[in-house]
Point group: D2
Chain length 95, copies 4
């Protein structure tokens, strides 16, 4: 595979991941400043949702490019890609 | 409140948050290196689980210190603390 | 313990659980009628959210009654109740 | 579409949905018998996981049949199916 599914959105994905790093760095500062547990927890929930948003965006690109191309090409590779996508969805749902 | 519930575990919490930042930084590098979607997604799931682990640890400390102390002191503050903890649990479950 | 935390809301909880059974029975009928996967999946998500809603309601009652009473009574039982609630929250978050 | 993706597994899916109904009926009985909150919550978590298991199985069949076939046929329908699958995954992850 030459390009991952997210190639066209690479800049956007990187921007989102940097924002998550900023969120987690901000949470670290809150803890360092002895901020109230519930306020810290609220930001941890927000960062978790942001990470899940990145995962869903990556999954959408993966389905519409990598999986779709493998299915168009047909053969065993298509089955592998579908099984692989399914397992990634399972990990997402359970995380 | 003088000390947040996580005071005794502050160093540990900060260490875990730094590790999550390292994970997200690593994911950013994977994307920058055009790594395969499924491999990136696996690391996003791992970082999400790590963040949830931090949230659960903060919640445990919050219940055993802040909530427990408010209940011992009694009065209206105890009800507020329980309601507040419940809402944080709800956010955690839904994130 | 004489009464579980949900005693005052028992009728409501039972009503919600019956509604979930109705939802799952409805999903079974959809599958039996060969309905489209995505429509079935949408109802499964709705039933899952409904079950989580019941869990959150039970947890709220448990915290405000069982856990709060144990903390008021103090001693070892309070620690057990907090640890137990924490483990139930962990199961909720991970399910 | 003549057959939904789960056609070959229809009996299995129905069996799993009946088991979930039995679980929820069992939880209703536990509540009716005033069983301890934490024990009830444990069963609610188990039923939630069982429902998610059904959803994941339906999703796997949907991807390998409905989505794969639409992609093989090509055209606009393929894009619709991928977008639709993505939205169902999003609902699953958020529920």
């Amino acid at each position: 595979m030459d390009h991952p599914g997210y190639s066209e959105n690479k800049t956007k994905v990187i921007k989102r991941l940097r924002r998550v790093q900023g969120q987690v760095k901000g949470i670290e500062k809150m803890v360092d400043d002895d901020r109230y547990c519930i306020d810290v927890l609220e930001q941890v929930s927000a960062a978790t949702r942001a990470l899940q948003g990145v995962a869903l965006a990556l999954m959408e690109d993966h389905l519409s490019h990598c999986v779709a191309n493998a299915i168009k090409d047909g053969g065993h590779e298509a089955d592998i890609k579908i099984k692989e996508a399914y397992l990634a969805i399972e990990r997402l749902v359970k995380s």
